[in-house]
Amino acid sequence: MPSREGTYGLLAEFDTPSDLVRAARQARQDGWRRLDCYTPYPVEEAAEAIGFHRNKVPLLTLVGALMGLAAMFSLETWIATLAFPLNIGGRPLYSWPAFVVPAYEWTILWAGLSAAFGMLALNGLPSLYHPLFNAPNFRNGATTDKFFLCLEALDPKFDLVETKEYLEALHPVSVVEVEY
């Protein structure tokens, strides 16, 4: 567990997504690995620029969907053939066409729930504290109209003075130091 005191990282602020993407691409290319982008809306190019290719949400969704499908279909099969067999219009007890609709609904339901909660869990949410909110410009801008690139102190290349100069060379609006 890294120490939870001192500097969390250096935060550069940009006015446009293009500037952010350009800076992030440059930083990644220059060997930075502990870095992150913060934008008011999804900017997929920013995620690509810092080497973030895929996450596990699709997999969780698929697993959730298949679980929902299997659970409901087996529940229906169990009820109709073993637990409470009923003669409905002379049809076979195992009448799969009738099972499709609830099984389908559960597939959708479980896919949706797994996607939503899986996304939250993988994002590390709920989280009561994040050091970046110590920066006033982040508090005000990250959810409205500013684009941020943070180089974190955990990166071996990190040095308070040199990194600040490096970030300033990327033409941000400002660079601030963020404390834990």
């Binding site: 006015d15 446009t16 997504p17 293009s18 500037d19 993407v21 809306y41 999804p42 900017v43 997929e44 190019e45 920013a46 699709p58 698929l62 219009g89 049809r91 066409p97 009738a98 499709v100 609709v101």
Partner: protein, 427 residues
């Protein structure tokens, strides 16, 4: 602005690239080869019955592109969206193939006696005699008499010609307006958007009604005893399915050269893939809903249509149809990476067009006495592999000619500016 350097510019020459001519030549060649095969098969089979049935398949398929393309064009005028700019000219070209579809239809119309019971027995007396001689069943006789108001040769001609006239009118008007729009200055854009929207809205309703009438005559009435209130909608969704598949294939193939190289961005390709996915889902939803309702009702006058298509080895075909038509495209299109990959998305779309034709085979062939509940080999049944390919190839050739007819990008449209922006400034 600081990021102005990213903005693309539309190339000066917006006409279709030269390789569209090569597509046309190839399509004509394939069409000729398969037409020869179809003729050979008809000789080997000693009858043109199967050729005509397969012809109906080809007609419904190409009709789906021509009139379904017209419908998607109207839908896009009403919904807006950047994806529409990519497909607008290809869709217009699809709609302008209507004359060829009309020619295909004429062949069916001149041979209705070979295809439809209602064209053979046109009066109560004829039906009674046929019933007495055991040519038709009691259910068929009853339905023939009951449905004669709609199902008879005169009404067939009148309704069909009327439908073609309406589609022709919409095709002509939308294509003419689109060119006129480009000729005018950008300050007229808002007016044009409203105008095309107002024209297209009612057009979608009229399309749904006329298209339903057409497929009832061409496909559904091959079995006079059959009725289903979702039938038109099934074909409507099916047309969305095949039109989007072809639209994506065309857009991606065109993107090898300008102007599509510039305007086909990954974002819109992804959007089109998602839209196609929705149609894949809706397609099975309606298809299965129809089956589930009839299966639940279990009524003797409704279920034979399904039994004809399940028993006697047809179960194999419907199982494959379920896999081809839904499971395979559905599973593949779930993938985000695939929808953003040009080559793979094209492959899936090609597969979907094949699957659509396969589904139509399952819908058409079991309508006939010799094939219902009895899937068996004959030289004739191979016509289903030959005739639709020939008709579709000739259609593609005609489509290419139409595609070359005008610039590939509509310029008097606000989406042009948006589509030229780099991808990460959207939202």
């Amino acid at each position: 602005m600081a990021h102005e350097t990213h903005i693309n510019t539309l190339p000066a020459d917006l006409s279709a690239p030269a390789f569209v001519d090569a597509w046309r030549t190839r399509a004509l060649l394939v069409g000729a080869v398969f037409a020869a095969i179809a003729a050979g098969l008809a000789l080997a089979d000693g009858s043109v019955d199967h050729l005509l049935r397969a012809w109906v398949l080809g007609l419904v398929l190409t009709f789906g592109w021509a009139v379904g393309g017209l419908a998607l064009l109207m839908v896009q005028y009403c919904t807006g969206g950047k994806w529409g700019l990519l497909l607008r000219r290809p869709l217009e070209a699809m709609s302008r193939t209507l004359p060829l579809v009309f020619v295909y239809w004429l062949v069916v119309a001149l041979n209705i006696k070979r295809l439809y019971l209602w064209a053979q027995f046109t009066s109560v007396q004829d039906t009674a005699i046929a019933l007495k001689n055991g040519i038709i069943t009691e259910a068929q006789a009853h339905c023939l008499d009951f449905k004669r108001g709609m199902l008879q040769p005169q009404t067939f001609w009148v309704v069909n010609l009327f439908c073609f006239a309406i589609w022709g009118f919409y095709m002509w008007r939308l294509n003419a307006l689109s060119l006129k729009r480009d000729a005018e200055s950008p300050d007229t854009t808002p007016l044009w958007i409203k105008k095309l929207e107002n024209f297209s809205g009612p057009g979608i309703v009229i399309y749904s009604l006329t298209m339903t009438a057409a497929v009832i005559y061409w496909v559904m009435s091959m079995d006079v005893t059959w009725f289903s209130s979702v039938y038109g909608l099934l074909f409507l969704v099916g047309q969305g399915y095949q039109v989007l598949a072809l639209g994506i294939i065309v857009a991606i193939a065109l993107s090898k050269a300008e102007p599509f190289k510039t305007i086909l961005r990954q974002t819109e390709q992804h959007d089109l893939g998602k839209l196609t996915f929705a149609f894949v889902m809706l397609n099975i939803y309606l298809g299965f809903a129809q089956f589930l309702i009839i299966w639940s009702g279990n009524l003797p006058e409704e279920i034979p249509w399904y039994l004809d298509r399940i028993r006697g080895h047809w179960g194999v075909i419907i199982t494959l149809d379920f896999l081809f038509h839904w499971l395979i495209p559905f599973s593949l299109l779930l993938s985000r990476d695939l929808k953003r990959n040009k080559k793979r998305l094209t492959r899936v779309c090609q597969w979907m067009i094949f699957a659509k034709a396969f589904d139509l085979f399952w819908l058409i062939e079991p309508n006939f006495k010799d094939a219902a509940r009895n899937l068996h080999f004959s030289w004739g049944i191979l016509e289903y592999a030959a005739v639709p390919v020939a008709l579709a190839s000739f259609w593609v050739a005609f489509f290419c000619t139409q595609l070359k007819g005008r610039p590939l990008v509509q310029t008097n449209d606000p989406h042009v500016a948006e589509i030229l922006e780099p991808e990460h400034v959207h939202a």
